[in-house]
Symmetry: C2
Subunit: 416 residues, 2 copies
């Protein structure tokens, strides 16, 4: 067991016991103080971030994409601060009582929404996640233990320092938000196995991070993020709508999990819609990899291999397949999809309902882009990630996903 992690988990548990009973307004005040402090101290944050960037640029595994994720500037810091103000404005889920009923025994049995307790988050380079995660866990009354990527250590230490300073000022437990500073794997491994101290662990990042957490964790985990999403253009689809949605779902932001990776087209719609859609996609810079029928409609499409159907490109690449029926489309999604976001474009009422009921994913769409799978778009405010498992929560995880329901029972001396 890693000493720093065990000690911080112990402190987190004490903080969680206090936080669970903190009134909403005290939590909101702390969120506003932190937001102000982040903006006021943006110079200091950017200095720390510059040290991270310098070290990262000298490192072996350097990529431009990661450099961009790692980078903080005035705008991004203001964005993170704004996110905290949005969280402050959201309704506090803690304390809601549901399903209270009087039982034949005379007991009054209800459920009250409570914080989860101690939440661990293991994530990668983006230091914004530090602020978002702290804000969401604080508002929902949870203590959080953050384990960010080693590339962002200076930035994260600076951010958590500012957050803790404001927690102290707001008279909330400083250990409500803690950072694991040791970037050794042993630290993460201990965090994954602290049953009884850590109530929930959320991995946010690439497939290898998620896999490592699922393989090694004994504490409850929510799996997030992998998105091999599909758009299926049905035989009755309106051409313009289909082309526009395909383009948006692939191109508007290709590096995120709710962008599509495969386009499926009903054979009866292929001749009318496919050439136009593929031309537009190509003009937007998308590399196309298709099945033989797709290639017969559009000559510049490369040959797709079996492996392509299972890939999450997160890039301007799209696999394309012509299918004989809606059943074949659903079977393809069921086989290769990651249960994230799946969409149909159709004008047929019955087929829309069929797709909605038969496709097993966190979010299933009719006539809209998969890019809407997002806490803010779904009305949850900010989000902690997108769950791709079925336990506890599917899809965007807002404040409610960071709570649990406890039975409260009022009696007058009942025995069995």
């Amino acid at each position: 067991m890693h000493a720093e992690v065990v000690a911080k988990a112990e402190k987190a548990r004490e903080a969680a016991a206090i936080l669970a009973a903190v009134p909403t307004e005290a939590k909101n005040r702390a969120l506003r103080l932190i937001a102000e402090a982040l903006k006021a101290q943006s110079g200091k944050i950017m200095e720390a971030n510059a040290r991270d960037l310098k070290l990262y640029r000298e490192s072996a595994g350097f990529t431009r994409a990661l450099e961009d994720r790692l980078m903080l500037n005035e705008e991004r810091i203001a964005g993170a601060a704004g996110g905290l103000l949005e969280i402050a404005a959201l309704e506090d889920p803690v304390g809601e009582v549901t399903g209270a009923s009087l039982r034949p025994s005379g007991l009054q049995v209800g459920q009250v929404r409570t914080p989860i307790g101690v939440v661990g988050i293991i994530y990668e380079a983006r230091p914004n996640v530090t602020v978002d995660a702290a804000g969401l866990t604080l508002k929902s009354g949870n203590a959080v233990i953050l384990r960010g990527g080693s590339e962002a250590l200076n930035s994260n230490m600076c951010l958590v320092g500012i957050i803790q300073e404001q927690l102290r000022r707001a008279e909330l437990p400083v250990a409500s938000v803690q950072l694991i500073e040791d970037s050794d794997r042993a630290a993460a491994r201990t965090l994954m196995r602290l049953n009884g101290s850590v109530d929930l662990l959320i991995p946010r990042g690439g497939p290898s991070l998620i896999k490592a957490v699922i393989e090694n964790a004994t504490v409850p985990v929510i799996e997030t993020g992998a998105g091999n999403c599909h758009l299926y253009i049905d035989k009755s689809a309106a051409k313009d709508m289909a082309v526009e949605i395909a383009l948006n779902a692939k191109v508007q932001r290709p590096g995120v999990c709710n962008a599509i990776e495969t386009l499926l087209v009903h054979q009866a719609a292929a001749e009318e819609i496919l050439p136009a859609a593929l031309t537009k996609l190509e003009q937007a810079g998308v590399e196309l990899r298709g099945c033989p029928r797709t290639r017969s409609y559009h000559k510049t499409v490369k040959e797709a291999s079996e492996e392509d159907w299972g890939r999450e490109y997160l890039d301007l690449i799209l696999a394309v397949r012509v299918v004989d029926s809606i059943d074949e489309a659903i079977a393809h999604i069921s086989r290769y999809g990651t249960m994230h976001s799946e969409a149909i474009v159709t004008a047929d009422y019955g087929r829309a309902r069929l797709f909605l009921s038969r496709v097993d994913a966190a979010a299933v769409y009719v006539n809209a882009s998969t890019r809407f799978t997002d806490g803010s778009e779904f009305g949850l405010g900010a989000e902690m990630g997108i769950s791709t498992q079925k336990l506890h929560v599917r899809g965007p995880m807002g404040l409610k996903a960071l709570t649990s329901l406890k039975y409260i029972v009022y009696g007058s001396g009942q025995v069995r």
Copy 2:
């Protein structure tokens, strides 16, 4: 990977895809058919059970308690069949739509309750669990893979044979309910690691079974069962009520998880209540182990060791401790409890509220016996076990605990 388990999981996944769309009445009909068949074929079931009992009586680890759990008779079979009829009468949770709203984007976003998919259950000797688990998963539209104890193999094979026969008659997938017949640990281990095929694994049984599942599983798990429960008698408690609840919570059925294992008494109530309570408990055959102050009130109490506070006796043994304050009682529960069921007896409104809000457990009681933590008593109908984790569900797991919420999104061409 264990071949039998992998093959059955594959079939379960196909069955689950069909079951998810089966109308309520078809599921209820199958439940009624199974209930009838169990009663009609009770002779055959008891024969199979007699083979299990004979083998078990000759085995090395024989205990009367396990023999009793393993045993099926007419009454128990009728009880299991009756349980299925009760499940048939419960409301089907699948298909419920919640939280639908029109977003600023024009999208209509809602959540529909769906089955989890493929549920695995690893349990011990009681063959009744086979029938209960099959009934609950079937009604909630899930396929189930059962992994019972090796002692009950003949009984379970007979029961699952009857269930599958009736599934066929009801024209539902036979693979909706499957039994792993190989009692080798490798089979259970494979079941724990079939991510993508098994959506949820529920261990039901003793601490070593639960621990093995939590240590080894990579699929999502719901932890169940461990119950180190407490009753706290506050200084303002009514004497008769306190004594009666203490007696009931310990003695009515000591071998179950919602019975109390420790009695905490406020020092200001000890002199009045403790001697009477301990005398009654002793008369009911309870062995008492107490702190020094407890022993000063009642001479026959043995000395409790530190270890006693953490024990789940599941027997007619009770640890007893006098505390100085409600805070000390809550701290004791927080330190030694397993977050199952905790109760206070008090006449003080403010202290009742304090206990309800500060104690972190699946069920927290005021002035009632912890023995009420039960699906049927809480109005859920039958239950699949009692969750002692905070993710997904706390406390008794009814039909709803076997479902998930999927986002469904109705658009008219929206893009971002």
